[in-house]
């Protein structure tokens, strides 16, 4: 590769010409990414404790199916993705109280959702780039009112998490004792699943259905490597999530590539560093 070619190649990946103007265009996308980074990091701590990484992936595929259906029907992609998410979350929450039942329910749902989504996309005659972006992220192409919805859903999820915080911690640690102390296990589990569904539907828009785990699991997994304080872990996870989501958009802005690889790379590097320097063996 010549020097010129290398430079051109790099400028596709990182390019900061015209940065100020671009920044103005994406300020709402950044706000959405900021809230998702926080709420995704925080809920990730519970996803890890409740052993639900697989459920997150299953919900995101159903969310993809919902978004694809909305695209085909000419409706709101955000609404479609939210409906798909919530249905999947409710089904998983109701069917699978035990981890094994849950995993089989997810294993059945996931390919079905993905298949449906692919069917809808194949039938869709619009722009090809909107098709692909549902799987791999599209925040920059989401328009104003839709972005407002994403921000609203994220903020509501955060509020719900704060509301159910203590009973959720108790239930995640020791469901039996929590129930004995009056924590309504079923209600908490279902509320958690629906909140998770809401957050996944936002993450699908920002990072894509296939890469949701980078914002919903990796930040929490990183935080758990360096601390075991119930206060520090969620704060760190929120910080790592924000770093990846916002940092990813900022780095991707000038280049010509989708933002997802930037987010996943930051997220992954954070995890590597935490793993290397974390005190947990």
């Amino acid at each position: 590769m010549s020097v010129l070619e290398t430079t051109a190649w790099w400028s596709r990946i990182l390019n900061f010409d015209d940065y100020g103007r671009l920044l103005g265009l994406v300020q709402y996308s950044l706000l959405a990414a900021l809230i998702l980074g926080i709420v995704g990091g925080v809920i990730g701590v519970f996803v890890m404790q409740r052993d639900m990484a697989f459920a997150v992936h299953g919900i995101s595929e159903m969310s993809f199916a919902g978004a694809a259906a909305a695209l085909l029907a000419g409706g709101s992609v955000v609404a479609g993705s939210l409906i798909g998410s919530l249905v999947a979350a409710a089904v998983i929450g109701l069917l699978g109280a035990k981890a094994r039942d849950r995993n089989s329910a997810i294993g059945v749902l996931m390919p079905f959702g993905l298949g449906l989504g692919i069917l809808f996309l194949a039938l869709y005659e619009g722009r090809a780039s909107s098709k692909f972006s549902l799987l791999t992220g599209q925040i920059i192409s989401v328009d104003g009112p839709q972005l407002g919805w994403l921000i609203g859903i994220s903020a509501l999820s955060l509020a719900l998490l704060v509301f159910m915080w203590r009973p959720l911690v108790f239930n995640s640690l020791d469901a039996e004792v929590a129930a004995a102390r009056g924590v309504p296990s079923r209600f908490i589990s279902l509320l958690f699943m629906l909140t998770l569904g809401m957050i996944v539907s936002v993450a699908v828009q920002i990072i894509g259905a296939l890469l949701v785990l980078a914002l919903l699991v990796t930040p929490a997994a990183s935080a758990l490597r360096v601390s075991s304080s119930p206060v520090v872990v969620p704060l760190l996870a929120a910080g790592f999530g924000t770093l990846a989501a916002v940092g990813g958009i900022l780095l991707a802005l000038g280049g010509a590539l989708p933002i997802s690889p930037y987010i996943t790379t930051i997220s992954f590097l954070t995890y590597l560093l935490c793993r290397l320097f974390g005190k947990r063996p």
């Binding site: 701590v45 890890m48 404790q49 704060v162 509301f163 159910m164 915080w165 203590r166 009973p167 911690v169 108790f170 640690l173 020791d174 039996e176 004792v177 929590a178 129930a179 004995a180 102390r181 009056g182 924590v183 758990l224 601390s227 075991s228 304080s229 119930p230 520090v232 872990v233 969620p234 947990r280």
Partner: protein
């Protein structure tokens, strides 16, 4: 203790019956629990031991009869009851220290987040930790502690809300033998020192035999209540099971031979 307080038992079961479909777990159960009582509930798997605790916790409705705590019908989530579950190892990487586990006994069931800086609550947590001898490891991540240490903390969690009744659901199972004895001692000591009555569910009476005032023996839909010496006898248990059962004592250990483990094997074990 005044006569008036003595008059109302801490816990009162009147003709309590629990049945699932056709199957009766226990019926006509009458039990008065007074402060300082240590009552050991024993029986085969599926005899309804855990269901009894669930009923007292207000999580399972009786088929007939009633249960009263301090004179009032039991209700769900009553903070006057402390509950120690079976030991299940808390996984490593759980973001929680020993004292966080204990403090959930105070406000873990409340909505919202904890507002920090409540010295009174912190002092109660520290006192509970001190009383179970867990001070040296209370600041460590719970997932790094041994099963016995975790069970000490769970005992502190159950005691931190100053319960009037302590329910223990096989808290010794899956613990090493030496931990079994130390956790049993700990619970019995709390029962003595605080006067908190204990209902201790177990399938092996030996670790708690020295502390046991009364035995509630559940089997095949029937039950017996009495002192260990009254109940743990060959003819008494043979009559309860309606099959020859031999009770022998080896040193200070009681061994029951011939008690059917599953008296009705086609029924599912009832737990939740």
């Amino acid at each position: 203790m005044t006569d008036a307080e003595q008059a109302v038992p801490v816990l009162q079961l009147r003709d309590a019956t629990l049945a699932f479909d056709e199957r009766v777990l226990w019926e006509g159960l009458n039990l008065d629990v007074q402060p300082g009582d240590f009552i050991t509930v024993i029986g085969a798997n599926g005899s309804g031991k855990s269901s009894l605790l669930k009923a007292i916790l207000g999580m399972r409705k009786l088929t007939a009869g009633e249960i009263r705590l301090g004179g009032q019908p039991v209700r769900r989530g009553d903070s006057r009851i402390g509950y120690i579950p079976q030991q299940r190892l808390i996984p490593r990487g759980t973001p929680m220290r020993g004292r966080d586990l204990v403090s959930m006994g105070i406000d873990g069931h409340r909505w919202g987040m904890r507002i920090t800086g409540r010295p009174a609550a912190r002092a109660r947590v520290a006192a509970a930790i001190e009383s179970v001898g867990a001070s040296s490891f209370a600041a460590q991540p719970v997932g790094m502690l041994s099963g016995g240490e975790q069970q000490r903390l769970r005992t502190a969690q159950a005691l931190v809300s100053d319960p009037v009744l302590l329910l223990c659901d096989e808290p010794l199972s899956s613990l090493d033998l030496n931990y079994q004895q130390s956790v049993a001692n700990l619970i019995a000591q709390q029962c003595r020192d605080r006067g908190t009555p204990v209902l201790f569910v177990t399938h092996d009476i030996n670790p708690v035999l020295p502390f046991t005032d009364r035995v509630l023996y559940l089997a095949a839909g029937r039950h017996l209540l009495g002192s260990p010496d009254e109940i743990l006898r060959s003819e008494v248990l043979s009559d309860l099971y309606q099959t020859p059962v031999e009770v022998t004592r080896v040193g200070d250990q009681v061994i029951v031979i011939g008690a059917p483990e599953h008296h009705e094997p086609h029924h599912l074990e009832v737990r939740s």
